[in-house]
Each structure stands twice: as C-alpha cells, then as structure tokens.
Amino acid sequence: MSAGHIVTGDELKESAVLEADAVVVGSGSGGAWVAHELVRAGLKVVLLEEGGYHTRREFDLTEARAFPNLYQELGSRTTDDLSITLLQGRSVGGGTTVNWCASFRTPDRIFAHWQKHHGLEALSKESLAPHWDAIEKRLHIAEWPLELVNANNKVLWDGLGALGYERGLIRRNVNNCLNIGYCGMGCPVDAKQSMLVTVIPDAVERGLDVYANVSVRRIVWEGRTASGVEADILDPATNKPTGRTLGVKARVVIASGGAINTPALLLRSQLDGRGLVGRRTWLHPVVVTLAEFEHDINAFSGAPQSVYSHHFVDRGPGKIGFFLEVPPVHPMLAAIVYPGTGASSQALMQRLPKMQAMLAIAVDGLLPEETGATVKLRKDGYGRHSIDYAFTPAHWEAFRTACKEMAKIQFAAGAKRVMSLHLEPVVMESAKEIDKLDAAPWERLRVKVVTAHQMGGCPMGADAATAVVDQRLRYFGLDNLYVVDGSVLPTGLGVNPQETIFGIARWAGNQIAGVL
C-alpha cells in the first residue's frame, strides 16, 4: 500500500466526507497504537486529532509555546472548582508528545482487582505480555541508568535509601536521549519515542491518513450501528472552528480521545452508557512537597522522572495508597503551582535552582466508597467540560501521610527546609517539625492538588450494569463502536499509565482487525 498523509486544518479548504474501514478519534497512546494495528492488518484507516501537528521544528523548549500548543486548555484544564489542575496532552501524539517518559507494565495486583471486582478475564498480564514485548522493543523502553539520574531524582533515591524504603529506577521510552529535561515541552531531538515520531509515522508509511486540527463533535449512529463521525475543522492559528466540516464514514468507529474527552464525545452523541459515561473517572490525584537545598538542584535539567518508590502503594484495607516520583521544575509552572502571595512567590522564584520537588500520586478507584471524578458537558463549552472530583476522608488521610513521608525523605536526603503547597504553606525547618503538617487544613482549595494521569469514565467490564464497554472494548449497545484509550480503565493503576494504554490498544487493535 502506498503511504498515507498527515494533513492539517489549514490545508482543508473545503468541507469533505471521507470513507474508510475504520475511523479513530484521537492520536495519543490508545489511538495511535490501535490505528497502527488496523493498518498493519491491511485496513484503510483515518486518524483524527483535534490538536495540531507540532513537531521538533516548533519545540523551542519554552513553556510559553508548549502549553498553548501541546496541552488541553493551554495547560489550565481543571476541575470546576479549580481544586485539581489537570495536565493533559493535546496534539498529534496526545499525551505521549509531552509526558515524562515513565513506562511501567500494569501491576499484578491491579489485574487481580479488575478480575475480582470488574469480572475482567480476557485482559490479563498473560494476554498483554506479547504486546508489551513488541511495544518495549519498538519504543526502546529501558531502565534509566543510575549514573544519569539528575539531582532532583537523586534526592528521592538517596532519601528512600537512607530510610530503607523500596526504590527503583524508571524505565523510559527514549532513544539517544540527550538528558536535557524538556520532555514536557515536546522532545526537540525526537529522542523520546512518542507516538508522534514512532507508531504514527510507521502507520502513515503503511497508508494511515492523519488529519490534525479536526475536532470530532458527534458519532453518527442509528439502532445498533455507528456509521461514522462528524467533525469541525479548526484553524491551526486560532484553534477555533473554521465553519468547515469533515465527515468520515466507516465500518467501525473507535473513540480514543482519552479520559475526559472520550466521555464528552459520547455524551455529545447521546451515548451515555445508561448514565455511566463520564462517571468513575480516576485522576491519580497528586500532592507535592518542595524542598530547599544548600546546593543547586536545577530540577529543570536532566531526565524528568527516573526514580520511583512503590513503598506506599498498598497501605492496607480502607486506605488509599500512593507512589512517589518527582516532577521537573520550570519557572512558569512553578510560579503557577506555588500558591503564595506576591512577595512570597517572588522569594521562592529567586531560589528556584535550589528547589527540589516531590510527588505523591494517589492510587484512586480501589476503595468501595470512591466515585472519583464525574465528567459532564457544559452548556457553552466547546473543548472544556465540567469535571467534579469527589474527595473522601481517605484521600485527605493519604495526602497528609504522603506529605509527611515526602518531607521525611527530603530531610533524609539533606534538605534544609521543606514546604507544603497549602494556600498557607506549611514550612518545616527540620524533620522534627514534620508533625506541623497534622495541623494544616486538609480540604479542597486549601492545598494544591494536581494530576497528569486521567483514567476511566468509560470503564470496561463484564457487566453492562456497571461498565460502558465490554471486555473487547466494544460499547454496550452498539455493534461497531469501540473505546480504546485510558477511559476504559476501571480504576487507577498505581503506575504511570502510558504503557498500560499502549498494551491494551495494541491488543484491542488485533481483536478489532480480526472481526473486520
């Protein structure tokens, strides 16, 4: 088959209707892999992406350029009350274009939970293993060597070691990485093995057509059959609808817009999964502690995430576990996240090179009382949806415990001062002061909560009463609509999600190709 094309909104001068065997909506970790597998099976596939086609030609390593081009809602996607800020990708390659490269297979205990509580049998460690083997080879996924770990990650490594806590080195999807630390702004040298530079071009060489700046507004369906999608063509310069439309007629429709946007697309299409779509959305909510060191940490430099700890992922019944990693610290995001007054944030910014940041990522969705976030449409929203997260006392207990443990780790690694991200930051001058965190307010909008992992909203499961898609990821109620992205995950994962989604998407792509 001859090669396909990558087309952007400005090139689509007139409205058009295309025909294909399959249309895939969204080009991130799910959409890219499923499209790749369908093309590999010889099918004609159209891949639609609402974000732009941005490549290393544009990746100038500035936050000012990266956030508007490469993130949902300019990087300012939030829950309705702003209690949680969501970092989520939006361009060809989706989240993989901007994530920090952490690659983990799904933990065994999560599979066990899904089997026990969600009746999942088809999907297992064994069924995904051959797919992960192939994915890891293609994306050069390998453990990052300790000698290349940057100072920001080294604090976590050293602190964990000093306290005797479990620790590990993260596997990363990079090839000839320069270790400069700008993964979140798009890799300027194509070393990151994102979908943008690997699986998508591989599939285009085999005939995949990619349309960027195309926002799917509706899945067209009748009875039990989807017949395609209707989309707006956006102006790449303004990100606003041009008034021109693109339709795609296809034998199978695959929604891969990720948690948040896939549920919104289904809701716009009057496909609410009997009221389940958009519910049980998991965010791996994150709390952060900042540590100040005597020496420079330069947390903006070097591979952003290379050390992790799963020491606290399983804290026993009734408790929410968390895992530990670190984020890169660049000036604009640091200034936004640090919630001080004018003068106090200036004082912090002046010490930026000496600051180390640590993340505790809560594993949500495993407790019976949790309902997670609910995604709904907004009356006058175009790409912005209502998101409301139901915190429980177990979350706040986990956040408080996590901040105390992180402070302990940071002091054990030599921090001279640790602070929380409360609206009135708790400042600790030594490990003896960690209990100050017990007196801090642990409630929404009193302490900063962020997330970079979005899961659920269209959960897979054996039972249509509790799941939106079946075990083969087919929408309950339609014969040829599939959801293939992080939204099918029934719970949080306890690890960074990209490799789980890669594996599920490659597996699903082979299943779908088999029935077409």
């Binding site: 990558i6 290393r56 000012a64 809602e73 903006f300 000036p331 936004i336 929203g381 790409g383 009135e424």
Partner: protein, 214 residues
Amino acid sequence: MTSPAGSSRRTLLKRGLLGTGLLALGGGGFLASRSSKLEPPPPEPLKAVSPEQYAVLAALARRFIPDHPGFPSADSRHTALAADRVISWTDPSAQKETLQLLGLFENALAGFLFGGRTRPFTQLSPQEQDEVLDEWRTSRIAVRRTGWLALRAIVVSAYYGQKETWVVSGYPGPPAGIHQPDAPEWRGGDTPRPPGLGVWTEPAPQPAPEGSTP
C-alpha cells in the same frame, strides 16, 4: 464573627451567591457602576477584555508581581496585555467566567458584601488591594479561593511565561543549539521519512562564519 449581622451576611453568601450566582455579580449593575480607575491604553488592541477589565488585570499584576529588586516590573512586561491574550485563547465558557470574575473582583457591591469596602478594586491603595487578595485566598468560602486561584494563574503565567523574566530565578533557559527550527516536518505521501524522525543524529558542524574567532 459571631454577630447576627455577620452570620446573616455569610448565610447570604452561602445560599445566594455561590457558583454562577456569585459570578453573575461580575456582569454589572448595582454598585458596579462605580467607575474603575482606568489604565493608559495598551500598546496593542485588547482581544478579550474591556478597558475596565484590563485595569483590573493590571492592578492584579502589580500585586501578584510587586516591585522587587531584580524583577522586571509587571507593567514593563505588559503583563495585563499578555493576560488578555491568554484569556482570548481559552474556551468560550472559560472566557465568559473569567470576564465575570474580573467584574466581580472590581464590583463595589461584592467588595462591600465581602469586606465592607465601597470602592472598586482598582481604586484601592496597593495595601488595601493586598488585603482584598488575602481575603480571597484565605476565605472560608471555597468559591472565593477558586476565584483567587483562577486570576492568579492567568496573571502569573502571563508574566513568568516570558523569557525576560527568567533572570529573576537564575533559570538559564533551555540549552542552546538543540532546537532546530528548520528541521524537516514530514507529511507522508511520496516523500521518504527523514532519517532523523525517531532517531536523532548530531547535526553536522557548521563552518564558522568569516571573521569569527574560534
């Protein structure tokens, strides 16, 4: 805090003004007609906000980034204009809420209900403005903390997103010589995929320009 008047005021805020009801106050009317202290016109036309809202943004910028040794001033970086640009890029629903929030911040009735002030935010002294911001930041009413976070994020990103402000933190900026603005952008079709796509190779050394010293 225990006086009947105080508690009834809080009840009013809780029952009647939360959420969209509260934001609607930003739309105008009531004491909102008390005039704002306007700013000189910006060097480029505004895209999203009115001159009144621009004045609020400028006042907020001076408080979120107060004059401080080593920091370019918020005005010199045209922070309010940059914030206008940020707002203009946001989703229509977010834009509407932001403009309402700016109106609410300025609205003298809201200022009176919240803090007993009868002048708009832009007419207050810097010290009073700091007090207002602190009241929003530490308010018992969650939606005011939300409002503070929203306005702060817009203003702070408009300022610290500019490379001219990197100097304040000693952030050296991205390493030089890595970004290649002329890198090929592959579009498929008959053009072969460039070898650099997915595998980076060291750029060939450029001959030194004439007259340069090694």
